[in-house]
Each structure stands twice: as C-alpha cells, then as structure tokens.
C-alpha cells in the first residue's frame, strides 16, 4: 500500500543557518540534482542513508538534527 513518508527534516532551516546556502549548492556538495534536494526538503522523497549522512556532514551536525522520525525520541529515552 502506498503511504506518505513520516520522515521530516530541517534542511531548509539548516541551509538558512549556513549563510543561506542554496539548494543548488547543497545538491552539488552531495552529488544529486537540485530537484532531488527540493523533493527531500519538501518531504516528497526519503533519501538513502548515504545521502542523509552526506547532508548531515555538509551542515556538520548529527543525523538526528537533520532528519526526524515520529516516535524515535520517545523510544530512545
């Protein structure tokens, strides 16, 4: 059954906090198209673990500060 992804992200806020990094700049640094960055940012596409880690590395933050899955906080505490 097709269902929407529950993964949310803070990529837009992180881009803003990093000198208003453009989607094109982020896309170039992680090796994807700008359209893929747009789709990830809007929650229309769940990236692979590798891309997720690459995005976190660009912003120099842990993965959990970029992506969030409902319930993950409650389960770990």
């Amino acid at each position: 059954m097709v269902k929407p992804t529950r993964v949310t992200n803070r990529i837009r806020a992180l881009r803003f906090a990093h000198d208003e990094m453009t989607q094109a700049e982020l896309a170039e640094r992680i090796g994807v198209t700008r359209q893929t960055v747009i789709a990830i940012e809007q929650g229309r596409y769940s990236p692979s673990l590798e891309i997720a880690f690459q995005i976190a590395h660009v912003f120099k933050v842990p993965l959990e500060e970029v992506f969030h899955y409902p319930g993950s906080q409650e389960e770990t505490t």
């Binding site: 097709v2 269902k3 453009t22 994807v32 198209t33 700008r34 893929t36 789709a39 596409y45």
Partner: protein, 153 residues
C-alpha cells in the same frame, strides 16, 4: 529576495523531460498508426487492412522523434542539469517495472493467439498495443512520481 526562497520552483531534470517526451511520442505514434489503419480499412474487415508499412513507419518514426526531441530539449536549455542521480534511477526503475507488465501481457497474448491460429494482423497489433501501453503507463508513472512523492510501501 532571499536566494533561499526559490524552494518550490518547478524545474525538470533531463530525465523528467525524457519521460514527458517518450509519453507524448508514444501516444502520438500509436494514435497516428490507428488513424492510418482505420482509414485504410475503409469499410472492409479490419484484418484485411494493409497495416505492416504503417506499423513499421510508426515504430521507426517514434524512435527517431524521441531521439530528436531529446537532443532539442538539451540544446534549447544547455545550462540545464544533465545529471542523473539516485532518485532519477529509482523513478526510472519504478516506471520500467510498471511498464514491463504490459510487455509480458502482450507477449503471452501473442503466443496464445498464434497457438489458436489467429490472423497475423491481430497478433502484430496486440503486440504493438501492449508496447504502446507499456511506454505510456511507464512514463505516466515516472511523471507522476517526479511531480508528486515517491511511494512508500
């Protein structure tokens, strides 16, 4: 205006343009073929209509038209990204998977029709119809996923 705000701009990757081109070409080529064959039948039983040349021209023209359109699409906006990433490959696989089912249906149908002794007209046309449906549904799937969200199962 802040450069960060162009978030929702609808731009296409080269792969999305290719999906649109192949969709339009498949519909136009098969539609043109049907119109020509129905015109040639001119009241006779459909199986007696000359179809072979129209079918071959339709398939050939579709291949050439798709290649030319893709070259033109690349030349019109040379600054557009030609990159193909993991999302493009995933969408491509999904579209091909959807379209593939109709190729199988066409092959099995043609095999059964040949065994049952159907006229070659119907065998050739069921194969071409399934090829066309495969291209249309596969590329419609790609366009929908490019415009919407990737399905999660």
């Amino acid at each position: 205006m802040s450069k960060i705000l162009y978030i929702t701009e609808k731009v296409m990757t080269l792969e999305e343009k290719r999906a649109w081109i192949r969709l339009v070409v498949a519909v136009a080529a098969y539609g043109g073929y049907v119109v020509v064959v129905l015109g040639r039948a001119a009241g006779r039983p459909l199986a007696e209509a000359p179809y072979a040349a129209a079918l071959l021209w339709s398939v050939g023209a579709a291949i050439v038209a798709a290649i030319v359109a893709e070259v033109v699409a690349g030349a019109v906006n040379p600054k557009a990204s030609r990159a193909k990433d993991v999302r493009d490959r995933e969408i491509g696989r999904l579209g091909d998977h959807v379209g593939q089912s109709f190729v199988t249906i066409g092959a099995v149908a043609a095999m059964l029709m040949a065994v049952a002794g159907w006229d070659r007209f119907w065998i050739a046309n069921v194969i071409y119809l399934c090829f066309a449906l495969s291209a249309v549904l596969g590329n419609v799937t790609k366009v929908i996923v490019y415009r919407g969200s990737f399905p999660q199962w």
